[in-house]
Amino acid sequence: MSTRNTLLAACSALVVGCGAALAESPNLGKAASPEEIASWDISIGPDGAGLPFGSGTPQQGEQVYLAKCLACHGEKGSGKPSDQLVGGQGSLGPGQAPVKTVGSFWPYATTVFDYVRRAMPLNESKSLRDDEVYAVVAYILQLNGVIGENDTIDAQTLPAVRMPNRDGFVRFSRGK
């Protein structure tokens, strides 16, 4: 049995209810080298794999924030016109008006790095250097009381940060 057939068998077992057989592929993808992939491989999962070299502190991050983030996210992440980034912890419980921020709601600190690096600032995304991203993430986490003023955020410390709402999510299943 060829590798391809093994794969097909494995996949048809995986895809329950998808009856149609895969069409023969013309195989026109070009091999992508690690060097080619590197500039696009910017997603960072909860384990922090792929986090770049570099680091930043809340103090350094405040300078980045004042220059790049303040206009949309308000003083110290207070929000308006865009999302509030700070505060709201303890507001998710029954009977309360939820205030969803990085500190109160986001389950993983790695997501903050991933999102800031890929999408922020809105009008010039992907313009921050990795050190600046680490620093502004550190600043937002510190404003939320998740890390201390003198902590440093880097590839080792970021995935180790435990966010307050880490256990606040349940996987959806229909009919539940």
Partner: protein
């Protein structure tokens, strides 16, 4: 007075309260009986010749390379709002009250952009497949165009569609602003599974990360099983290249899944062991419940329906026979039946389902209604082929709470007032 030639019952079959008639009425030619002789126009005696208009006497306009709607149909348009300080970040909504059938025209498909519409040169666009694969691969559009193609007629609905119904009071708005983040098109492209097979799936892979080439790098994690199932890299939308606002030159199509997961301007698929936990799948497209816990990865859109006509803005004319028309859909399969009520849910009549009825596509339903000129509360209720029944608004909120803006699929109500004005109401 003219008499009906065919013998017809004096009253057409009532299917439910407040004037709802049997769904087969229009099909069996019973319209004359339903209207009755009283519906003969009063002005039949006004004897004036039908006018011969200017366009009947002079040549019309020349060809154009790409056709546009009539200038008289200019109101059949999207409405949109941008996030403050931006021009292309926000959403636009489909005018379902002015459309019929099941296919949304490409220029009217709803949009949700997180950083505007990128102007992508298709020759420079690449689709990268990597991560837990044996051979990372990069594809050009030209390469994908040589692959075998498949079509799916599929709805895409924003998870935030109909979010206004979570509010305590009914928003004084109509179909388009409330339910317009829904569209349905024929999408044609290459099966994602074929490309993942090219790359060789590592058995450890259970998820994919899909990422767009827009400035926000919109990204979502999706179970590998969905990617290996009916997912497409869509290159065509209703027969023409996917519109820039819908992902040109290629988008991910995940039939039935919330719109946000159908990543536009698709540039990268990374196979991973677990979900990447992107911003949108953690902080945004999750459902905060009353107990403080949030439901995550609510991918498929639940069975749902909405009456598009009559609806707010479409004021009723004289009492008499009307067709109630609407859309029903389910991200879990095919619509099995739609019921319509004219008395706020006290009684229900089966609506006619217009063919084709397809899984993960909108189904057009129709129901004849003799409006007596009095108050009425119109509702529709969809059931899909899994047996799931669209819940009332109050039941949905009782079960889930109203602390979210996502996945509202409860029954919507239009109130028809004495005199014919139609308003959004809760019933």
């Amino acid at each position: 007075m003219r008499k009906n030639k065919r013998p017809m019952p004096s009253e057409p079959e009532q299917a439910a309260g407040n004037g709802l008639l049997d769904r087969r009425l229009f099909l069996t030619g019973g319209v004359a009986a339903a209207i009755g002789s009283a519906a003969l126009p009063d002005n039949v005696l006004a004897a004036e010749a039908l006018p011969v208009e200017p366009w009947m006497k002079t040549p019309g306009s020349p060809f154009v390379p790409y056709g546009q709607p009539s200038r008289y149909a200019s109101k059949v348009a999207r409405i949109f709002a941008s996030v403050p300080g931006t021009t292309g970040t926000g959403a636009s909504r489909t005018p379902h009250h002015l459309l019929d059938g099941m296919i949304t025209p490409n220029g009217l498909h709803f949009e949700r952009h997180h950083s505007g519409i990128p102007d992508i040169n298709p020759e420079a666009h690449r689709l990268l497949i990597h991560g837990l694969v044996k051979r990372p691969l990069v594809y050009t559009l030209d390469a994908l165009m040589r692959y075998p193609m498949e079509s799916r007629i599929a709805f895409i609905e924003c998870a935030g569609n109909s979010a206004l119904l979570y509010q305590k009071e009914p928003a004084p708005l109509g179909v388009q602003p409330i339910h317009g983040l829904l569209s349905c098109a024929e999408w044609t492209g290459v099966r994602v599974a074929t490309l993942l097979e090219d790359a060789g799936v590592d058995p450890r892979a259970q998820w994919i990360l899909a990422e767009g080439a827009d400035a926000s790098g919109m990204s979502r994690s999706v179970p590998l099983a969905k990617a290996m199932g009916d997912a497409l890299v869509a290159i065509y939308q209703n027969g023409e290249p996917v519109r820039p606002s819908n992902g040109y030159p290629m988008r991910l199509l995940l039939p039935g899944y919330e719109g946000n997961a159908n990543v536009k301007w698709l540039r990268r698929i990374k196979l991973t062991e677990g979900p990447t936990m992107t911003k949108d799948e953690t902080s945004k497209y999750t459902i905060l419940q009353n107990d403080g816990k949030s439901l995550q990865f609510c991918f498929a859109q639940e069975a749902k329906s909405v009456i598009t006509r009559p609806s707010p803005g479409l004021t009723m004319g004289a009492p008499g026979l009307y067709e109630i028309a609407g859309l029903a859909w389910s991200g879990y399969g095919q619509i099995a039946k739609v019921e319509v009520s004219a008395d706020g849910g006290a009684s229900w009549a089966l609506a006619a389902l217009q063919e084709p009825v397809l899984p993960m596509a909108v189904t057009r339903f129709r129901s004849p209604w003799r409006w007596d000129g009095g108050p009425a509360t119109l509702q529709s209720r969809a059931t899909d082929d899994s047996g799931y029944v669209q819940p009332s608004r109050s039941k949905l909120i009782a079960d889930r709470g109203a602390r979210t803006i996502y996945h509202f699929n409860g029954i919507a109500s239009w109130g028809v007032a004495q005199g014919g004005e139609v308003k959004h109401v809760y019933a």
